[in-house]
């Protein structure tokens, strides 16, 4: 079973809109949640991350909102640009799991100009 779930599978937004990518998890021991961004033909690269002791993390146009009680988090991309078109992976890790990273299935984002 997937420990980390993402929705939607794909998302299209217009340039300038806010894209919202959702993620949920099952393992209460997860305490670190990185988001990776992957462009076609490349490997994933770390975009932004959050620890479970926080409920929000901002980095420029990218913001993670985290709800520990509901085991949900979301990535908000404000003022979306065509260059943001990529696949975004939500991931999680736990100290108890030796910090091995578990990935969700990804959300493919298309930003139309």
């Amino acid at each position: 079973q997937q420990q980390v779930r993402q929705s939607p599978q794909s998302l299209t937004v217009w340039e300038g809109e806010t894209a919202i990518l959702n993620c949920s998890y099952e393992n209460s021991a997860f305490d670190y949640f990185p988001w990776y961004q992957q462009f076609p033909g490349e490997g994933p690269a770390l975009l932004i991350s959050i620890l479970s002791v926080s409920d929000k993390k901002e980095d420029g146009r990218f913001t993670i909102f985290f709800n520990k009680r509901e085991k949900k988090l979301s990535l908000h991309i404000a003022d979306s640009q065509p260059g943001d078109s990529a696949t975004y992976f939500c991931a999680a890790s736990a100290k108890a799991g030796g910090y091995k990273v578990v990935f969700g299935s990804g959300t493919r984002l298309l930003v139309s100009p």
């Binding site: 993402q6 670190y32 990185p34 490997g43 994933p44 770390l46 969700g104 299935s105």
Partner: protein, 114 residues
């Protein structure tokens, strides 16, 4: 700059053949990982290593072996390739000293088993 290099970038193999995917990192990271990426499944961990000489099974190790002969190199071996192993394979490295490890990925190897 952190660098993880995979070879080959593309590979076509026949069913039952042996395939070796290679990975080299210049990050001096202790940890290295092999993932496969399939639509609908995201990235799934096959094997990983904590350092030279060590290999550990990940979540989907069946049909795969791994070898870590040195700090820099980590190979994934398919002794008897099957069409179900057609996928894109990614190698990654990470710093074992970091509690919340950032992974650095290679560009991937696209494997087709016919």
């Amino acid at each position: 700059e952190a660098a993880v290099t995979q070879s080959p970038r593309n590979k076509v193999a026949v069913t039952g053949g042996k395939v070796t995917l290679s990975c080299n990192q210049t990050n001096n990271h202790n940890n290295m990982y092999w993932y496969r990426q399939d639509t609908g499944h995201g990235l799934r961990l096959i094997h990983y290593s904590y350092g030279a000489g060590s290999t550990e099974k990940g979540d989907i190790p069946d049909g795969y072996k791994a070898s870590r002969p040195s700090q820099e190199n980590f190979s994934l071996i398919l002794e008897l390739a099957t069409p179900s192993q057609t996928s894109v394979y990614f190698c990654a490295s990470g710093d074992a000293r970091e509690a919340n490890e950032r992974l650095f990925f290679g560009h991937g190897t696209k494997l087709s088993v016919l």
